[in-house]
Structures are given as structure tokens and as C-alpha cells.
């Protein structure tokens, strides 16, 4: 008897609530794509905003709404894109080339001086607003480290010479440092690109020579020596087309101000060979 009372009363309560919940579930049913939650689970969860949406859940919502591509997460790379694609049931295009951030300036305090003594916030954008920044070269790195502060992957550090250094292994190409730089000195380049022009100055050669020891003077020597026609000079600045460059290193040798450099695997192999 005592058993029956217990079983029945609690069982009935269970049944009542079960029914109520089930009914409510019907009545208050809401359309939400279950894929969204699954995509959020797959995404890295850093909420870095590199995709251009407010956080990972924002991107997930956009992907589900087909307002963003399945490979919209620059941090996750192809691995995440594949998983997202599986959830969305679409094929990913050719895997995107991995990109890394590169600092296109060598104007350390030794190479490029300053126009005045800056007294203010340690923030590049704020410094840029004060008489256009203290750096002698108006295109050069201000060196206050806003990009370092912006990086949430510990991939950027301030070097001893006052220039930021990218740890290309850690870099996820989220693009936050690019957005943090008031002078567009940091750019995302294909990780495979080994020859880079480390200068952003559009100033004429004579002016560059006045302000910086390692700036591009637009002399065009590199254009002349390049066997594949990958180098051009636009607006007094050498530009390398990564598609044509075969990393032969001739321009690097010829450059009078040493503003074209070899980076990455090739560079270390060469260094090894030289030693």
C-alpha cells in the first residue's frame, strides 16, 4: 500500500509535468537551426572577431543564414572549414592558402629617427593623431606596440629594436594587428611567400634617404634583376607579385638599402648553406 501511494503520487506528478512540458514544447516551439549550435562547437571559440562577425556565435548564425562562407573563420583554417562544411552539407572549395601577418618596416630606432619627442599615450593610433606621429618617416612603424596589444594569440612581440616581431608559427591571420596599425604596416601575406619588400614608404628616394637607412628608394634595380618579372615599382615603392616570384633572391642581393628580404624556410636553408 505504502509503495502504491508513493509510486502513484510521484508517478502522476511526473506524468503531469511531462505532459505539460511536452505541450508547452509544442505551443512555444521556436524555429532555431540546430546546425548553429553544432557550428559554434566546432569553431575555435576565441571570439576574436577576425571573421568580421561579433564572436563565434555571430559567425555561426551568419553561416547558417548563408551570409558567410563555410570557411569564414580565418583562425580555424581548413580543418575547421571542413567540419563546418560537413555540418552545412556543402563542399569546401580549394583549401585557402595559409596567410601570416608580416611587419613591412625595418625602421628601427637605429635606422630611422624621430621628428620630435612624443609625450603621450602608448598607442599608435593615438600617437598618429599628434602631429602625425613622431617617426621621421611618415610611413614607418611608430613602435608603440598597439599591434602587440591587439594580438590575442601571443603571436606578436616587441623586438629589442622597437619593432614588432611576428611569430609566424603562432599567427592565425585573424587580422587584428592589421586593423590596429594606423599606418597599414602590418599586412597578411601568404605564409609561403619568402621574398618581401619590408617598406611602405611612397616618398621619393631623396626624402627616404634623408629619413631612413633601410627604406625603399624606388631605384628599380630589383625590377631590372628579376628574371621572372615579379617586381614592379609603383609610387616609388617596389612591389612583388608572389604568384610570379620564384624566390631566386637576386633582388634581395641587389637592393642598395636592403629593404627586400628573404624570410622563412628558404632564408634559413640559405643561411645554413652559407655557414
Amino acid at each position: 500500500m505504502i509503495y502504491l501511494k508513493a509510486v502513484l503520487s510521484l508517478g502522476l506528478m511526473g506524468a503531469v509535468f511531462g505532459l505539460a512540458l511536452a505541450l508547452a514544447a509544442k505551443k512555444f516551439a521556436i524555429e532555431q537551426d540546430p546546425r548553429q549550435d553544432r557550428i559554434v562547437e566546432v569553431l575555435p571559440g576565441a571570439n576574436c572577431g577576425g571573421c568580421g562577425f561579433p564572436g563565434c556565435s555571430g559567425l555561426a548564425a551568419a553561416i547558417v543564414a548563408e551570409k558567410a562562407p563555410v570557411d569564414g573563420c580565418p583562425v580555424g583554417g581548413p580543418a575547421v572549414a571542413a567540419k563546418v562544411a560537413a555540418i552545412m552539407g556543402v563542399e569546401v572549395g580549394a583549401a585557402k592558402e595559409r596567410k601570416v601577418a608580416r611587419v613591412l618596416c625595418q625602421g628601427s630606432s637605429d635606422n630611422c629617427g624621430s621628428r620630435f619627442v612624443y609625450d603621450g599615450l602608448s598607442d599608435c593610433k593615438a600617437a598618429q593623431l599628434v602631429d602625425g606621429g613622431a617617426k621621421a618617416c611618415v610611413y614607418g612603424c611608430l613602435g608603440l606596440g598597439s599591434c602587440v596589444a591587439a594580438c590575442s594569440f601571443d603571436a606578436l612581440h616587441m623586438g629589442p629594436d622597437g619593432l614588432p616581431v611576428v611569430d609566424e608559427e603562432e599567427c592565425t591571420s585573424c587580422g587584428r594587428c592589421v586593423a590596429a596599425c594606423p599606418r597599414g604596416i602590418i599586412q597578411l601575406v601568404p605564409a609561403a611567400q619568402s621574398v618581401t619588400v619590408l617598406c611602405r614608404s611612397y616618398a621619393r628616394g631623396a626624402e627616404v634617404r634623408k629619413t631612413c637607412k633601410v627604406g625603399c628608394i624606388g631605384c628599380g634595380l630589383c625590377v631590372k634583376v628579376c628574371p621572372t618579372g615579379a617586381v614592379t615599382v609603383e609610387n616609388n615603392l617596389a612591389v612583388i607579385d608572389p604568384a610570379k616570384c620564384d624566390a631566386c633572391g637576386k633582388c634581395v642581393e641587389k637592393c642598395p638599402t636592403k629593404c627586400i628580404v628573404m624570410k622563412g624556410a628558404k632564408a634559413s636553408a640559405d643561411a645554413l648553406a652559407a655557414s
Binding site: I2, Y3, A6, V7, L8, S9, L10, G11, L12, M13, G14, A15, V16, F17, G18, L19, L21, A22, L23, K26
Partner: protein, 198 residues
């Protein structure tokens, strides 16, 4: 709709099984628990009313009387739960009041023993959740002895409130709670005596 019924049924089934299992466990433990509680109560009662060999639960009688004399509003003795009268050879030797005052950490279960002539004969704390090292000292014999010998007719209060009982240092609230329980026990005793119940 079938789906709805299905959900209801599953929850029903799980609840039913759970209830059954619990009823079973309850069945086999109930007696033991009751026996444990009874034993514990017995011990507590004996410790506060020395000399009694038998206790009778006379709560209902006392409460009926209390209802008769009070105006029927809120209970006048909210802290008193049960009243046990101790007898020795059929003669009343004292009364034990089970009280539950609120301490610092929650309710305190205490039993207060009062002799026939209205003197506190013993106090014991059965259960409490006071702060160890401070309020928990209400279980210490030293503290409990401070109440023994107090008489009905004089309000029981801690010294901080102008009374006669020294509170435990740093644990005024717990002490105050116990004092209030003793106070109510004595007042109820006085009322009952005045009405000539025993």
C-alpha cells in the same frame, strides 16, 4: 499528440520507478531511523531532567491549555515544539521542553529541563549548524551550565542585553538564541503551573 503522451509516460515511468525504489529504501530504514531518533530523544530528556524514569509526551495537553489562556492569535511560545513530562514512580519530577530557536547558522534544536519547582535542571543542544569554534560552543558543558539553576519568573537574557547569562565570547547571537529558548521554557512552565495542570 502521441508524442506528448509519450513524454508524459516516460516521465511517469521514471518517477514511478524512482518512487518505488525510494519507498523500498524508506521501508527498510524507517524503523531504524525512528528508533535512532527515539533513542536520541530519550538520552537528551534524561540528561536534562535527572531522576525521571519515564517521559510522557504531554504537548497536546499543554498546548490546549495554552490556547485556552492566549487570545488565539499567533502562538505565544513559537520556539517550543514538544513538552515531555518526566515521572518517577508515577510522580512528576520535571518537564523537558524541546525548543528550536534560530541561531546564527540556522535553527538550533535544544531541550530544556525544568524541575517541579521551576528551576532549570539541565540544557542540551541536540542539533545545530552554528559556526565551529564560536557558536558551536553552545554544545559545551561550560556554557550549558550557565543556565542551570535559573528560576522561573525572571526573564532569561544574556548580559549584553542586560541579563544574567554570560554569552560565549564572539557568539552573542547563538548564546542569545539559547537564552531565548530557556526563557520561553520557563515562561511556559510558569503559565502551566499557574493554571494548575500539574
Amino acid at each position: 499528440m502521441r508524442d506528448v503522451l509519450r513524454l508524459g509516460f516516460i516521465l511517469f515511468a521514471i518517477c514511478a520507478v524512482a518512487a518505488g525504489a525510494l519507498a523500498f529504501v524508506n521501508d527498510i530504514t524507517e524503523e531504524r531511523i525512528a528508533a535512532q531518533a527515539a533513542m536520541k530523544l530519550e538520552q537528551a530528556l534524561e540528561s536534562v531532567v535527572p531522576g525521571a524514569e519515564e517521559f510522557r509526551d504531554e504537548t497536546d495537553r499543554v498546548l490546549a491549555l495554552k490556547a485556552a489562556v492566549s487570545d488565539g492569535g499567533r502562538p505565544e511560545f513559537p520556539l517550543i515544539n514538544r513538552v515531555y513530562v518526566g515521572y518517577d514512580n508515577g510522580e512528576m519530577v520535571g518537564t523537558a521542553f524541546a525548543c528550536t530557536p534560530s541561531g546564527y547558522g540556522g535553527p538550533i534544536d535544544a531541550v530544556v529541563g525544568v524541575s517541579r519547582d521551576g528551576v532549570v535542571t539541565g540544557l542540551t543542544v541536540v542539533k545545530h549548524t552554528e559556526t565551529p569554534g564560536l557558536g558551536a560552543n553552545i554544545t559545551s558543558r561550560d556554557f550549558q551550565m550557565r543556565f542551570v539553576g535559573l528560576r522561573a519568573g525572571i526573564p532569561v537574557k544574556v548580559t549584553k542585553d542586560g541579563g544574567q547569562v554570560e554569552a560565549i565570547t564572539g557568539a552573542t547571537i547563538s548564546s542569545r538564541a539559547v537564552a531565548s529558548a530557556v526563557d520561553q521554557a520557563l515562561r511556559l512552565f510558569e503559565l502551566v503551573t499557574r493554571e494548575g495542570v500539574w
